[in-house]
Symmetry: C2
Subunit: 327 residues, 2 copies
Amino acid sequence: MAVTLADVARRSGTSTAVVSYVMNNGPRPVAPATRERVLAAAAELGYRPNRIARALRAGTTGVVGLVLADASNPYFAALARSVERALERRDTLMMTGNAGYLPGRQQHMVERFLAAQVDGLIVVSADGGADVAAQAVAAGVPSAYVHHRPVPGQAPLVSADNDVAVRAAVEHLRGHGHRRIAFLSGPHDAGPVAERRDAWQRAASSSGPEPLLLRCDYSREAAARLTAELIAGGTMPRALIAATDEQAIGVLAAASAAGLPIPGRLALMSCDGTPDSAYTAPALSVMEQPLDAMAEQAVALLLDRAPASASLPAAHLVARRSCGCDA
Amino acid sequence: MAVTLADVARRSGTSTAVVSYVMNNGPRPVAPATRERVLAAAAELGYRPNRIARALRAGTTGVVGLVLADASNPYFAALARSVERALERRDTLMMTGNAGYLPGRQQHMVERFLAAQVDGLIVVSADGGADVAAQAVAAGVPSAYVHHRPVPGQAPLVSADNDVAVRAAVEHLRGHGHRRIAFLSGPHDAGPVAERRDAWQRAASSSGPEPLLLRCDYSREAAARLTAELIAGGTMPRALIAATDEQAIGVLAAASAAGLPIPGRLALMSCDGTPDSAYTAPALSVMEQPLDAMAEQAVALLLDRAPASASLPAAHLVARRSCGCDA
DNA sequence: CTGAAAGCGCTTACAG
DNA sequence: CTGAAAGCGCTTACAG
């Protein structure tokens, strides 16, 4: 059916070894004249190398698996795009799997990726679940967590420092005259969200009244519902830092529906800084995570066996309109 | 290194054939006692089947490739999630590639997927470029376009009827009292966007003054820039249908920045109906594409060799706030 | 510089 | 119901 190396060898009057050397530019030299004949034969026959056969023999597939906690979340989606770009620079393909915040599904995706013999595994996990990246490492597959790592977790983690940026966000809102700055966290804190909440707690409590801690699921819907309740109950704070862009977008939607002016009545900031955050209404002021750098470091960790350097830039503040700037 | 079928066979005192029959539940029967021994050995050794070896021998990888014109566009992103769900029901993995609206990159991704021996290929393309799905079919790989097909294009296309829905959108805006209804199209029309524009043109011209046709790239940024210019120039229409959610989100952002009230000064609708459109500020009134049905049909086409049925539901109108409803 | 051959880990006729 | 063996399409020692 399909054209094979053996076909090309036959047509060019050489051996499969030589054809392989030509197709891969090595590892052995080939005489120029022979090379020409092989190339001509391959072109005539329309030869396309079978990567599966290569993978079985060479023990490397050129594919990396990416498991995402939630592909609908703009932060995870943007991270996936960054990872894809980093992989492409190394001529590596990406398989994706969406865990939907379900530990069982996450485990299942990892099993399937391991069976597919991926050359590496990147896990962008949510709270809970097993230490799947460590399982993969135990199976001989280089693996890393990005953004979040379960506790306890043995595999390396690539994550930016949230502390500095959240403190800057609190200071920024103070600069707009706010004394009470609330925080919208996840259903239970872990990983980066816990870091952000801690940083906020320390910064916001340092002076003035006890700050308000809000919680909801990581979804637009949940954040919108919570926001609608706060507005209806008259308990909406005047300044709020949302743990994620996803939640901030939900807040924006509900505030718009209820006619609550932002930033007039509510100054809002959030902590992912996805590309989406620049085109909300109003535009979100954010602490922007260095997604490309995180993806590059994770991929280098897996594919180049680079050590996890500490050189990741910290998330930094991007002031737009929702905090009260440019108002 | 890794545990193989042969290891399990040795441990259980059987042959690789029997182990294979047990692992795959067929195609030959195995005596219950033998099966137990095999299963026990596999569990003890922590055997994990090598899908690459299986793929080489069986000629099927259990992987489908998805090429996306633009992974940042919420419509394409939502479609990718639908495709992944449809594939998961068939226990099939997905590889993704992002063409970034570049025909050369699209071609490159397809080559790589073919080399990786995907069992099928789904192309969500943009204007221009080669008939890559037809190339894949010629190479023996079942392929289909979803949403858009290049001209001329030989491979099957899965796409919902846009005509009815756009007409309904025009009627809906008329019901809000609008006579002049503008349309924001792509840089040059083709495929579904051309269908939408045609439907608008016919419906909007049927009575009253000549309608306004606007154009910009499929990006939030381009739509925001255009919107800012229209507002500054005092030429912003009072009713507008955007070809895509992506563009509508850009319009919303620029309108918010300029203080142009929506729907008060501008009634806006758009034509994708992604999940994102429900959480913009204000919420977008849309014609919602049947993404899950489209994905399911495309996957059935490839994997079940099902004929492209005409039973796809048409995009339907979801009225939210941006058109003037609930105002 | 080139060729004949082994072997990656499976599945599947073929024989018993 | 079970086993010995061929073969999927490559890469890579090994010999020449």
